[in-house]
Symmetry: D2
Subunit: 454 residues, 4 copies
């Protein structure tokens, strides 16, 4: 028997024993947020291991049967009944003020901790607990927009999940055509960038020698991938997604490839949003590839530009108006003349979008750009007509970009971006900026505030 | 290449890159607690991944070169310079008092956290970080008696190690004669109860079909066991350790064994003292054995009584005096008459020691008893002359005891012991108490304070 | 790197070295059976390891480029130029007749061995050699009908493949939804009894807890299955294939199943036809299931009857004529009255087909029956309308049968069948025989020759 | 449960069933060669799988209880009662003579096969059969000198074991300090060249980064190694074994090593003598090391010269007499003057020993030289005082030699050696020959018969 199964089994046995003892026969009371709240209280006060695991399992099993209203009610329970014990905290505050030292501070730290954190820790001990907690956070995140008051509950989830998904526990595995089918079907399901429609589709992404895929796994989530990246080995930085995904294409011998193209990165667990692994995944894969294929010299992405069209629509500048005009009819990109003129204008606008436009809080607008630039990559090239799929035309008027990961610059790029939102970009990209807008080449010299676009 | 090696390698590569960038050439300044403190400060303020890992690795490598004084100085650095930021905390206290709600409480919680915790988290990201942190805590624990002021530093180590050694991550492995030699040599080294002197000695403990050994491992500590238990399969609850460890003994067919005897439990990592796994290890092994060998009905220990002789020496009662008298000469246990008389007296005193004697804080005196009773076991039998080795004679006048793990009672026993220090004991043990001292059978009915012994 | 890959790599390196040395630059002569013959001669006379492996690889690679005519020509080369050395054999015969003892007999044995055997042994040392030899035999088998003179070549293939596929080397593996996709696609491709059309189809056969699949593999063929069996866990011996393959059906808890149904057995390697593994596969799976699921008491098949319709068409008896009449129109099985009457007649004829009809050489007619009865199974039940697919209607007028594997009877059944073609059958099957034809129940009491049917 | 265990278990179950059926209750007749002969006859005539496996197991189990006389008697049984069926063979001879073609030749081939071969094949199907057959051949080989008439039995063992230990089935595994202890203890036991005395001794050979060990295993022999080689990574070709085995020595970083030294090769299975793996082992390890450590440029041995002293003692030449004189007293190698003079003379004689001396059948005298030269290595250097252990002084007056494996020359060297006993040797070795004896450098130009020494 597989060890992890054994373990789950053991926990179940322990929990079963606990349940009998506790008369926790399911069905004896209707499942409601209220009844769960009572069980949570009992879980927090239980001493024994068996009873603890039994309560935890019971709570999670009942939670899984709740409907949407029940789940929202339960989140409110978490928010309202398992926050900080203010009486105890007030005492700790007094004690600290009386004698402010590291001991009273630590006591204060403990007293200020919401009961939720201990509750979540104990729920995590149930068999399969972590998976249900990830689902619970998925539910929570989906409600944050409409219930921003749940953010405080999410803070505790985030804190604990970050610790449990500590990258030291992540396991990198190559995904290929000899990977178990139950994992492959998840790759099909979770691919978020360029959809995989059939098993044959999948096969074209992972079986040829010049197509690779890597995923992170976590021991407690078993066969469930956390994030994966698809890589193409090529002999040049690609301009379009079509050339990478073509059914028929000349294969590249891995030993003769010069370029590794990360053309799709998908997070698999909505409930782990914000617990970032992508950064580390790319770097690890780069190191892995460098060792196995010393001929690789370029590590680049072929990435979508999901925010460009929306941003462009909001611009009032003459060139933006011209662009909108040029691409107004649906078939603009199929007409050579229109295409050439539109291309020129779009490139200049895209350069502005990446290099100058900023959100009101001073950030780069494009979420994918934020991810790669934040990892220390450089914006290497803007590709017109990189993706002519309906979605890409809608989101980016067909633009794609390449980001380049150059190991020696990653740290420097990362730090400048983190500190000052300085965008590392190739000179050729920089030169696309409209003449009047040309700025000093070294982005770190930009006057403060410059990047805040109207 | 092994994945974990790969991972370590990658971290090293990242750290190397970081080091070059940071001009962290070792040897450019003498290693001192002060220089480490400066690096720790830089680590806490670093943003980049590579620089962070580089600092962390540098700190841990330098720490390993420190001598005893340097290490003590470094612990003082941790205590004094990386505690709570009291300025920030005071502000958070004020904010909380102005508007005491869950948000300000959470902010308070954050502000009260000692900087040490984040520091330790970041050190943990260095290659091999967790192992060095375990060593660091080992150093810390060794100094706690003479430097009780370091307890506040230990609080942070304990908090984080408990989370990183969360039992969900522990892996149980059978240890036998086909186990890798590098692990076996650690079993030899760490055996703390009944020393293993040679490889042949070891072999007698793990190779025969009626001798088993199980250990817990942690993914980030690799081949380093955390704790292990040695088990003998027998057809009766054993009276003496000699019958278990005899070079020549009639083997028992596992399928015909009725009894699993846990005769040695050793913690391997001094730096993880107090992060308890033993409880869970025994229960998991019991479940494992029950499934594989359904003929097993009894799960017992054969355990030392490390505190008995010291306790007896402190007793002023007539029977204690008589006992001391009877065992005054070294060879008392070799003389039949002396032995019979001493045995009777010792048994009664041992029953008192377990059932009635308590520390000033009301706890059971014997540390091994506290462990097993705390796990929910029952004191089953007291064995005179269970171990006649010099150490056992010195510590326990040769006594050993059996604790019994009965799965259906574990939880109840545990809760009564945890709540009231009620000792579950077999009636035969209870009857050993001197007549005058006989108490109501149900220990939970003892009047409060009763257990506090003179 | 995987060890088997490593090994293949090494062989390639050795072969590459040999090729350079031998000026074996492919393309320097047109590939023909003749040029292959020359290489084979050189291979047989080569001494060095590298040159041997180089020749072997070259021969196999060139063989793979041959067209059908070339391959036939090569088989003729094997037949004509690599047979026995009759000059040498004549000498050995003379020596034996001069002094007939075990030494001269052994020399005779060696001299009589066709050169082909050593040639095939040496070809087997090329990287991937065994796989190509299996393909070569597939080609050979396909020509045996039209070129029966190649049978002598096949004798050598059979002899060596039997030794290389010695069942001691076979590895049994469970096939399920966590099996690598590259193996699963072969299961889809090789399923010969009840076709698997899509991945979802496959999934219904291997993912549910009450659907199992096992395959034999051979270390030198890697991921290529040799044979596999599909098993359904049920609570009764099934009557129809439809109930087993239904998209929607009530699942059975494995622990509550009483019956394991082997409903599909497929050989995967045409080139290994006649090298029997099926016998052993079923017995091994039975043992495996018995251990894991002690609740299983019945091990049966649900099997096609591929020869029934053809046999029936050849019968001139009145009941055969009646049957043909009753089932003449295509929809006969959809009409209740027709169906009842036809069923009765068909059952009696089927009983005759199994129990009495024999080939001219005295064998049971049905190939599937020969397989299971030869393994020691018993004919348990004949199921009308067991499979109403076009193929099953065409081959067996919809009949299916159950064979039962009862471990205690297997050996006895097998020996009686092997020795006397005695068919073990349940009394209920035996009672289906037309009254006039009723024979003593115990098949072993049949008078000799009785079983040879007209 | 481990698959190989499962398999053994299954075979046992099948055999148990067979045994019950066959009334094979052990102890019902005294075990004797005769009773075994009867069982062998029954095994050859059995049809069923279970009965076959049952007989085979019974025979092997009874064989293991035989004493030396019984085993000899059994070998005689194999020789006398399970040879060729001469009646059947005579018929086949007649048939062949009547119509000598490939079909009658094949029939002759079959008829000439001793019954022993089929017997051994069937014995091999018992659980653990192959291991017992290897032991049986070990017994046989030990008797060949005194019973040369058993050679014909050995011919069948050799034929079948060569096929079962086909190198395609061999698995290469690195042996290091993380290898299971049960395998390591076999390495200790089987080391035949430089004895390993303790576990610490072993550890010095396999744990340091510059000390490697590789072994071949066979799937059906489980943890039993077939042959292993110990390797030292150095920066120069070593002169003495002492420098390799020193307790304290400066370690070499593997990446900085230039030379891999094969300093000990041990066959583990006496019963597989003559079934050669060593050749292939060395080449595979060379390839493995070249890939992992591209800095390695030299692959050499440090080898004993087991036949030198005996050969020298038989020489009557003046220089041989002088040598014998110079090394007559035991401490000759400790006296500088004696040592210098003796060294000069010994080197010249050693060069003669390797390059010119031959056995009466024209072979190189030294068995180790035959092995390495036969593999295609070159005699690179003769080292005086290479090994001053008593054994090495006795066998070789302290000489050791280096053979060099140069991949590009292996095949050429091998073929010249195989064809003409031409010894590939470095010019420096060749120059050691006494002046009068200097021969043309290219060994292949030696006049025929030249190498047959007096």
């Amino acid at each position: 028997m597989d060890r992890s199964l054994f373990f789950a089994d053991l926990l179940n046995t322990i929990a079963d024993r606990g349940r009998m003892m506790l008369n926790l026969v399911r069905g004896d009371e209707p499942v409601s947020a209220d009844s769960l709240a009572r069980l949570c209280t009992r879980l927090l006060s239980s001493q024994g291991e068996a009873s603890g695991v039994a309560y935890a399992r019971e709570i999670l099993e009942r939670w899984r049967t709740l409907d949407a209203d029940g789940r929202l009610a339960f989140l409110h329970v978490l928010r309202d009944r398992f926050g900080t014990d203010h009486g105890r905290l007030a005492d700790a505050v007094d004690a600290y003020r009386d004698a402010p030292d590291d001991h009273t501070a630590l006591a204060l730290h403990d007293a200020a901790e919401p009961a939720r954190q201990e509750l979540l820790r104990r729920l995590n001990l149930a068999p399969g607990g972590i998976e249900t907690l990830v689902r619970m956070r998925e539910d929570l995140l989906a409600r944050l927009t409409t219930s921003p008051d749940l953010a405080i509950v999410d803070a505790d989830f985030t804190h604990l999940l970050s610790s449990w998904f500590n990258r030291g526990f992540l396991v990198l595995r190559r995904i290929d055509w000899s990977t178990p089918a139950n994992i492959l079907e998840k790759i099909i399901r979770y691919e978020a960038v360029h959809a995989i429609h059939t098993w044959d589709d999948l096969r074209r992404r992972i079986e040829p020698d010049d197509r690779l895929c890597y995923a992170f796994f976590h021991p407690q989530l078993g066969d469930e991938p956390l994030i994966f990246v698809e890589v193409a080995l090529t002999r040049a930085m690609p301009l379009t997604i079509a050339e990478l995904l073509a059914d028929e294409r000349p294969p590249v011998q891995p030993r003769q490839a010069t370029t590794a193209v990360f053309y799709s990165i998908s997070n698999c667990q909505e409930g782990l949003r914000g617990i970032s692994f992508g950064n580390f995944l790319i770097k690890q894969v780069v190191e892995d590839l460098r060792r196995d294929l010393p001929g690789l010299t370029d590590f680049v992405t072929l990435s979508p530009v999901p925010g460009f069209a929306r941003w462009l629509a909001e611009q009032a500048s003459p060139s933006a108006a011209e662009a909108q005009n040029l691409i107004a009819n649906e078939g603009w990109h199929a007409d050579a003349a229109q295409r050439d003129r539109a291309g020129e204008v779009l490139l200049a606008l895209a350069a502005q979008y990446f290099l100058e436009a900023r959100t009101t809080s001073g950030k780069v607008i494009d979420s994918v750009a934020r991810f790669h630039l934040g990892n220390g990559a450089r914006l290497e090239r803007i590709n017109l007509f990189g993706d002519l799929s309906p979605r890409a035309l809608r989101q980016a008027h067909g633009l794609m970009v390449n980001y380049r990961y150059k190991l020696d610059d990653i740290e420097k790029n990362h730090e400048l971006f983190a500190a000052k939102n300085d965008v590392a970009a190739a000179p050729t990209v920089r030169r696309l900026l409209p003449k009047a807008a040309v700025r000093p080449a070294a982005p770190q010299l930009l006057p403060p505030g410059r990047s805040a676009q109207p």
